[in-house]
């Protein structure tokens, strides 16, 4: 079963980290990723740029393009993982490995309904 782990955190807090703190965090997370990879559990991993770089497209016949999210004071989606785990229980344990390395924020586990890493399949 594929699960996504969505990483939410206050962007204001995350961008307040110094480069050294951030690098150290990435090293810790990569150690967990290595472990997951060796167990065959790790899919794509993405870290997103700050929400200030976001562009929104409102669906409809005439799609509207809107810049960024409007003033948000809580947590933002800053990155995500796709993992392959036999059960929710196992996915939770996996997410906990990541959560222990992160200073704050929330990880959301969402089972993946459709996953196609190569885009359109024949």
């Amino acid at each position: 079963m594929l699960y996504s782990i969505l990483c939410y955190e206050s962007e204001a807090l995350a961008s307040g980290r110094t480069r050294q703190e951030d690098d150290a965090l990435m090293v810790r997370l990569r150690t967990v990723q290595q472990k997951l990879k060796s167990e065959g559990k790790l899919g794509p991993v993405a870290r997103l740029m700050p929400t200030t770089t976001a562009t929104h497209i409102r669906s409809g016949k005439d799609p509207m393009v809107v810049d960024g999210p409007f003033a948000e004071t809580k947590e933002q989606l800053l990155g995500f993982y796709v993992i392959d785990c036999p059960s929710l229980e196992d996915a939770i344990e996996t997410a906990k490995l990541l959560a222990r390395e992160k200073p704050h924020g929330t990880l959301e586990i969402r089972p993946v309904a459709v996953f196609n890493p190569v885009g359109v399949s024949q």
Partner: protein, 422 residues
């Protein structure tokens, strides 16, 4: 988790919003600062025991506001209590913070903008604006600011006190601004953030490492401003400009603290992550087709950042961007910068002809004589080049700038010696 580092980071991140809301309530900087201080003290006492609140900023605003209201009540026991229809006193803390949150969420953007705007009040000289913003918005201590500006603590204390007094005397608007009032405020704040960044970047005196935090703080505040006003292309431009310039920070000085010019920098030292974010913002801004000075400067920085080596630089594009900038915001400094691109494209003679008319306006400007000397050197007009470099040294703002020009002079000296011996 409620470790002290988390609390510390949270208080720093919440500071602009909380202080901005308290300033809306009390309209006096000192009162708002006292209330914020008290709220922080209570957070340090409460959060480790009770766990962090769901919304730290709302908690701090609520606690700070109540503290200040209690102060008012205590001082005026004889007079009637202030009307207090917004705060219900007899409820659980959670309901109360939720109420406060609802009240403040609507003001979030304008609170922070006002707080920043107060710091760059037109009555204040630029150095006071930046110092005040660092003290009030960023929460740096007077000691830290004094260190960054290379002045004594007492001198900085005085500067900040004077700035606050001026603001109290001036008429700061506390009403929520409409769209027409917002634009000039936003632009004043953008200018102040740019000054703050430059204070760290160009190091007008002093060594670099105490100043990097100023650049980082300017970037943090520009991102904050952009989160508040996500569809302002000039704020995107400002953010992008600061990010791309800061990306080169570790390549700008060599091990001996000598300046390394853009074309000689080791580009592998450039921070690709910051550049990528800057490029994303430039691209987003340009879609708006409302060019402005920050967007153009960011676009120029972007062109430089995309060249794998100096020789790959697209000087024609840089020249074109400077021309648009010149037409939007005519300034001898912009023309001077464009001359660098022109020298690369069409040779030093044309560039020199471009900058010579600027002599009257830029007679006290280090870079003018630096560029003039470099162009004259390329044209083999050695004596004139030496005169220009001498003038540049006398105008250098830092030891590193002077040392850089001295390198040029030494080279000229060596060349003329080898010519004589030949």
């Amino acid at each position: 988790m409620t470790d002290m580092a988390w609390i510390d980071a949270t208080l720093t991140a919440a500071r602009p919003q909380v202080l901005g809301a308290l300033l809306r309530y009390f309209r006096v900087l000192d009162a708002a600062e006292d209330a914020f201080q008290e709220a922080c003290l209570r957070a340090l006492k409460n959060w480790p025991v009770k766990g962090p609140p769901r919304d730290p900023a709302a908690w701090l605003i609520f606690v700070g506001r109540n503290f200040a209201l209690d102060e008012v009540r205590r001082r005026s026991k004889q007079t009637e209590l202030p009307a207090d229809e917004e705060i219900v006193t007899d409820e659980t803390e959670d309901t109360q913070t939720e109420l406060a949150e609802r009240l403040d969420a609507a003001h979030y953007r304008d609170d922070i903008l006002r707080l920043l705007f107060v710091c760059c009040h037109p009555d204040l000289p630029a150095t006071q604006q930046v110092a005040l913003a660092l003290r009030i918005v960023s929460g740096l201590t007077v000691k830290e600011i004094a260190r960054a500006f290379l002045v004594s603590e007492s001198a900085m204390e005085q500067r900040i006190t004077r700035a606050k007094a001026r603001i109290t005397a001036a008429d700061v608007p506390f009403d929520t601004p409409g769209a027409p009032e917002r634009a000039p405020r936003l632009s004043a704040v953008a200018t102040m953030l740019y000054l703050l960044f430059n204070e760290g970047y160009s190091a007008s005196g002093g060594n670099a490492h105490v100043r990097v935090p100023l650049c980082e703080e300017a970037i943090r505040l520009s991102r904050l401003l952009l989160r508040l006003f996500p569809s302002e292309p000039e704020i995107m431009g400002l953010s992008a400009l600061l990010l791309i310039q800061h990306a080169r920070a570790s390549a700008r000085l060599d091990a001996e603290n000598n300046i390394v010019l853009l074309e000689d920098q080791d580009r592998s030292l450039w921070d690709r992550e910051l550049i990528a974010e800057g490029l994303a913002l430039v691209e987003k801004a340009l879609r708006h087709r409302r060019p402005g000075p920050y967007q153009l400067q960011a676009a120029i920085a972007a062109v430089h950042s995309q060249a794998a080596k100096a020789a790959d630089t697209d000087w024609a594009e840089i020249d074109r961007l400077y021309q648009i900038l010149e037409s939007l915001q005519p300034s001898p400094v912009v023309t001077l910068n464009r001359a660098v691109a022109v020298a690369k494209l069409r040779g030093p003679a044309e560039a020199l002809a471009m900058i010579e008319p600027l002599a009257a306006k830029l007679g006290g400007y280090f870079y003018f004589f630096g560029l003039k000397g470099a162009l004259l050197t390329q044209l083999n007009r050695t004596d004139e080049a030496r005169t220009a470099f001498d003038r540049a040294i006398s105008l250098a703002n830092t030891a590193a700038e002077a040392a850089h020009i001295r390198l040029h002079l030494d080279r000229l000296q060596k060349e003329s010696e080898s010519e004589r011996s030949a």
